[in-house]
Symmetry: C2
Subunit: 467 residues, 2 copies
Amino acid sequence: MIEMTPFLDRNSEKPLYMQLSNYIKQEILSGRIKSNEKLPSKRSLAQYLGISVNTVLAAYDQLSAEGFIVSKPRQGLYAAVIEEELEFDYPYSQPFLIEEEKETNRVLIDFNSGKVDLVHFPYAIWRKLTIQSLYEDQGELFYNGNRQGERVLREQIAKYLFASKGVRCSPDQIIIGAGTQMLIGLLGMIIGKEQIYALEDPGFHRTRMVLQDLGVRTIPIDLDSDGINLSKLKQSNASVVYVTPSHQFPYGMIMPISRRMELLKWAEENDGYIIEDDYDGEYRYKGNPIPSLQGLDGKGKVIYLGTFSKSLIPSLRISYMVLPPILLERYRKHFTIYKQTASRLHQQTLYYFMKDGYWQSHLNKMRTLYRKKHALLMSSVEKYFGKNVNVIGADSGLHIVLEIKKQIGEAPLIESAIASGVKVYPLSTYFHDTQGSPDSKILLGFGGLTEFEIDRGIQLLKAAWGF
Amino acid sequence: MIEMTPFLDRNSEKPLYMQLSNYIKQEILSGRIKSNEKLPSKRSLAQYLGISVNTVLAAYDQLSAEGFIVSKPRQGLYAAVIEEELEFDYPYSQPFLIEEEKETNRVLIDFNSGKVDLVHFPYAIWRKLTIQSLYEDQGELFYNGNRQGERVLREQIAKYLFASKGVRCSPDQIIIGAGTQMLIGLLGMIIGKEQIYALEDPGFHRTRMVLQDLGVRTIPIDLDSDGINLSKLKQSNASVVYVTPSHQFPYGMIMPISRRMELLKWAEENDGYIIEDDYDGEYRYKGNPIPSLQGLDGKGKVIYLGTFSKSLIPSLRISYMVLPPILLERYRKHFTIYKQTASRLHQQTLYYFMKDGYWQSHLNKMRTLYRKKHALLMSSVEKYFGKNVNVIGADSGLHIVLEIKKQIGEAPLIESAIASGVKVYPLSTYFHDTQGSPDSKILLGFGGLTEFEIDRGIQLLKAAWGF
């Protein structure tokens, strides 16, 4: 007789027959029970395992229905012939390796600006709320939800945005989506692909590439110490401008109120739009909060973009945009064909997380934590580099720019860091024309690192760069 | 005392107290229980409903924790004042109503082709696997995952596609995304926006609109009884063609092997691409399975698209595409900037679901179920309409087309159905030129309806249309 040693758990939620049929299925799939091998009779198996004949019968029925076993008249049950795995005849034989995956193996400390602190994420609460969402409204959550995103979550977002950013909107104006890129693609179509889009230079390369992939014309606009250069913007023939006023990416300046007012005036006079991307505005270390452009806008010229990727966790894939009425109307007329892309379960869980006050506590906790990490980063840079570097954009956010006062190119800086097990990031990525990027600057994100790693990383960089 | 008539189902998986608290929540939100209205004491409510005092207590605790009811000392419990949305100082005062949401209130039986059977979805197993995923790899799952989608899931998909569709691919060629629309947008950019795309006419309107929104030129191609008309395709200057060979949408024909071979030859001769959208190919009721175009293709000319929206649940937002090597190379070169949009938790859960054999069992179960529903639909149509209608495309999938042999336009057919509480769907949506659509045809989806609803729905339609 075939040897079978299934672990059957009588306390499991899964019925015994299912446990048994799954076990046999695995044995067949793995080849431990071979094709055409005879299975024990239900009586002998029941006796052997100490379970009822009906349980074995139910398991065999299940396996039979699924085609894993076949009955031969007057002979009994046999394992079916299971088709062999795929490997043998892929039409394309070359392996498709992703290069970065190899590279990261060597990195010990990664100053990736996209990473956030996950050690302090409230896993237990998040799990509890996920499970709560899973049990509630059986079925309901498994259908496609509202295409703008779950109404209850949009209500929470509207309240939060009003209280913490001065954003004035109704939940109706909010459109949720699986990531900012996806929303910018949609937004580009709503505003219009015939428009000309002015972008901060340097600025978010992902926004630039999404817009360019859409076929939209983009114009790079220099920065000055207050953010996007307004006279350059005025000289351009752009009608839409994309800015990161809470914390310019990558240089980190915070746009002062005067510049914000000028920008709004520009939009009004040019019948244009401002896309305000507040990707990590939750974390500021100096100065007073400045109201969002959206909150200062009385004419419906601003689209506010936010995300939970930096402030909560990246893998949720929940971002949102707030549309002014005219664009909302266009969305409602034409773009409702696009289905919601964010998970309904995660939206529901996030709704509970916000409603029950966990979101606010989490933000408070993370503010304190990032403030500490940020202070440590600054003191490590001071300790190891002293006057050999300048720090740029250190008032806010989860990254800084380091300017090295030595004639070393960007590529050698990154390569020598990697050789020492530290990953730092280029600034050239963020320039329209990579030729125009300064050679001696490097981007350091610190959100995902521990305090020890931050200090050790900076120390390793000092040695790597020969200071 | 407030009148309460909740339907409490003791056989439901949802505990009674939860059913009760949900009911009261709805009553408060809908205004049927007014702000500050006194709630019955727990004793009197328990007696009235014939349930235990503890159940009522638990429900009240829940409502209280969620802020729906408040306790006034020595007076009892009162419905809370539910905030009238943020109305107070929105800068824009017009209400943004979504019209369809109102309309659906009146519909009793909805023949929506996008709905699937959720009654038989294995909730308990799915929950268990979700919880298992939540507990495993703490932290890991909260970071952004692989941008093509989780490797383990792609492996399962590759195996499944080979075994059930004859699709030959390595997991490296699979790109997962939050919905087919999102993937078609990405694919349009990878193949190129300068290409001309031929589309089945009638065909999926969402594909057409995504491509048109991208700025791509699309050409409608008529159908014949075997699917897309190949001589028309050859006369066009299209270099890419989008087809639904397993079950043409909406007409339902299955493309025979001969047409498939011709189509592949066309692609080879024109150095073109075929987008094969297998949106519901899991369910066929007649004939033998025909290998996918991708499986027949030896030249890397086919992009295979699949989704779990029809075969599992829509709200997962997990679809995928299989790229041939040349397109994969382009994706790897330029489009890796696009982050993964599908939830990593859901991907992980789906991986377990497939690996542990639940996916195969679920498919088998659903096949049997949909076969029964389909047979019932056909017999109901026969019973109530007899020779007054033709059924089109009944060999496969979760919808049919009904041709009514009477001079009634599409709009009146839909409106009179709605007046009888039945929602049926237009065919004109799927035509490039809505003028070209036939007047007397209607789309009926049956996946989400019970057998009783299907029969009752067809009966109501007979009366509504005056047969």
